[in-house]
């Protein structure tokens, strides 16, 4: 298993090198500094989404649902739109982007705990109900967001429009530092509880029997998921099926229940898909197809496949 992680690490390293060097012309120092920032953003998103998805699947004891499918990032956009609508774009722009992001993270944590905490307790045994609830919630959040966006001034709309679509080629660089800090803190907290996550994955009865309170674990994980989803959504916008694609591939490659191995593998796998995919799309195919479309297409296929296979 360690060999496989090392192999994933090598592939990611190669992808990063390719991303930085292919097609670079002129002043190397400038190009590298410019690309390194975007690369940093992509890697942050890769780690944040893959870890958020992995631990979410662990506490819900399933391998199909992800925070994105349950509407976490739709909720983030709703909160963002509500803030622009409430404050007005002028005052919104006047506030520092980092402050707004921090406020959004706190709001999303609260909202996620209230909404998804209750949902996970009542419906965890019924996967189809959870999927449906997630789809309905996402649509609801998106509709309210769209409604708010129509109510606000077109100039103000421009502020949120940029945030509402997935865009891997235009990482919000001004938020990188704060995002890196938040991701680092959340990931450190997750690494701390990696052994607990192994036990929580056994389901509520066994983890209680082994002395890990599943409810407490669930709260903790929901907060961490909310932070990581906020980071990712703030940097590149909502990506529904990216997390699912990463975790499904990770479970295939890493045939182990241990989070000490699953977590690094998922982070590397996420990085390979994002950086490798972005290199191919941006450098080789000349941005003809946005990576988000390809990732969503493949992730969507995986989602359908998992759902149908489970039905049988």
């Amino acid at each position: 298993m360690h060999g496989r992680i090392a192999a994933l690490g090598c592939i990611l390293f190669a992808a990063c090198a390719a991303y930085l060097s292919i097609g670079a012309r002129g002043d190397w120092e400038f190009v590298l500094a410019f690309r390194a920032q975007k690369l940093g953003g992509l890697l942050l998103v890769a780690v944040a989404m893959s870890w958020a998805t992995l631990i979410f699947q662990t506490i819900t004891n399933n391998r199909i649902l992800t925070p994105s499918i349950m509407g976490f990032d739709a909720l983030y956009l709703l909160l963002l739109s509500a803030m622009v609508w409430g404050l007005g774009a002028q005052s919104y722009r006047a506030l520092p982007a980092q402050g707004l992001m921090a406020a959004n993270v706190v709001l999303l944590c609260g909202a996620a705990l209230v909404l998804f905490g209750a949902l996970l307790r009542s419906g965890r045994d019924d996967l189809m109900r959870m999927v449906l609830t997630g789809v309905v919630l996402s649509v609801l959040f998106r509709s309210i967001t769209a409604y708010l966006q129509r109510m606000i001034d077109p100039n103000e709309y421009a502020v949120i429009q940029a945030a509402s679509f997935a865009r891997f080629s235009a990482v919000a660089v001004d938020l990188l530092l704060l995002s890196a800090l938040l991701t680092l803190l959340a990931c450190a907290a997750i690494w701390q509880i990696r052994h607990r996550l192994d036990v929580l994955a056994l389901g509520p009865v066994l983890s209680t029997s082994l002395g890990e309170d599943p409810t407490r674990g669930q709260w903790r994980v929901l907060i961490l998921v909310a932070i990581l989803v906020s980071v990712s959504t703030a940097l590149v916008g909502p990506v529904t099926f990216f997390g699912l694609l990463v975790t499904s591939l990770t479970y295939q490659v890493m045939n182990t229940p241990r989070h000490a191995l699953l977590l690094p593998a998922a982070a590397l796998m996420g990085g390979i898909i994002l950086v490798g995919g972005q290199t191919v799309m941006e450098r080789l195919l000349g941005l003809a197809t946005p990576l988000s479309v390809v990732v969503e297409f493949l992730g969507g296929l995986v989602f359908l496949m998992l759902l149908l296979r489970r039905q049988r």
Partner: protein
């Protein structure tokens, strides 16, 4: 000693348990029987802190359930779920290894490894130790879970209807193992059973519940009678004695 003192429990408007008080001394197999909805499973999950107490007190070896730290209780009492499916791809060895978690918290020592090896040996799991749980038969899987609880090394083991989905051979094998755990290792096994004949054959003590109250409590020989079946299950099945053991003719 498990001490249950004045425990009542309601779900919605429904009274599930009414002022139940019981003492369960260490050692032996204790079977909880009763009709559907009598409160057997609820009582078991209250003892195991799967549900929070509403009124009354339960203590296990002096540790008050609901107040004592989870990991302290995990070294005294283990419960196995009814539904033996896990999402992650666990091998038998992984699963049994989790039994040591309350002691090592994810960093197993050589002693933990030795105890896991012992559990695999005692439950004849060595040949299938590397196999993934999903590929096992119901009986093998049940055996792996009991081996995990054995490795957890707790004085008390709680099982909720473990014989569901097991054929007669697997059921008898499981009950025999539980009986041996109680007799040879001094463990206390508390088990919810639907089939009274299994309870009569393997339990040292039977507690019969009906509508949230204890109706009868004692060794099978004494309490399994025509009258009890009428009182508890409201059915006219006859009880016969075969080899001095009560057998319900269904």
């Amino acid at each position: 000693m498990i001490d249950i003192d004045g425990v009542s429990y309601r779900i919605g408007g429904q009274q599930i348990l009414r002022d139940v008080s019981l003492r369960i001394a260490p050692g032996g197999v204790v079977a909880l029987i009763g009709p559907n909805g009598a409160g057997k499973s609820t009582l078991l999950s209250l003892i195991a802190r799967l549900q929070a107490l509403q009124s009354g007190r339960i203590s296990v070896n002096g540790l008050p359930v609901g107040q004592v730290a989870d990991d302290a209780l995990a070294r005294v009492l283990a419960i196995l779920p009814q539904d033996l499916t896990v999402t992650s791809r666990l091998t038998v060895r992984d699963l049994v290894g989790f039994g040591r978690y309350p002691y090592h918290k994810g960093r197993p020592t050589a002693q933990d490894d030795a105890l896991v090896a012992d559990a695999l040996r005692s439950f004849d799991l060595e040949d299938i130790a590397g196999r993934v749980l999903e590929t096992l038969s119901g009986g093998q899987r049940q055996r792996a879970f009991v081996a995990m609880a054995y490795a957890q090394d707790t004085a008390y083991l709680l099982l909720d209807e473990p014989l569901n989905n097991l054929d007669i051979a697997a059921s008898r094998a499981l009950m025999t193992r539980l009986q041996m755990l109680a007799a040879e290792k001094g463990r206390t096994v508390i088990i919810v059973l639907h089939d009274i004949n299994y309870a009569a054959a393997y339990a040292d003590r039977i507690i019969a519940l009906k509508e949230g109250q204890v109706i009868a409590d004692g060794p099978p020989r004494q309490i399994i009678t025509d009258g009890l079946l009428q009182d508890v299950f409201e059915t006219g099945a006859k009880v016969f004695r075969v080899d001095d053991r009560p057998v319900v003719l269904v």
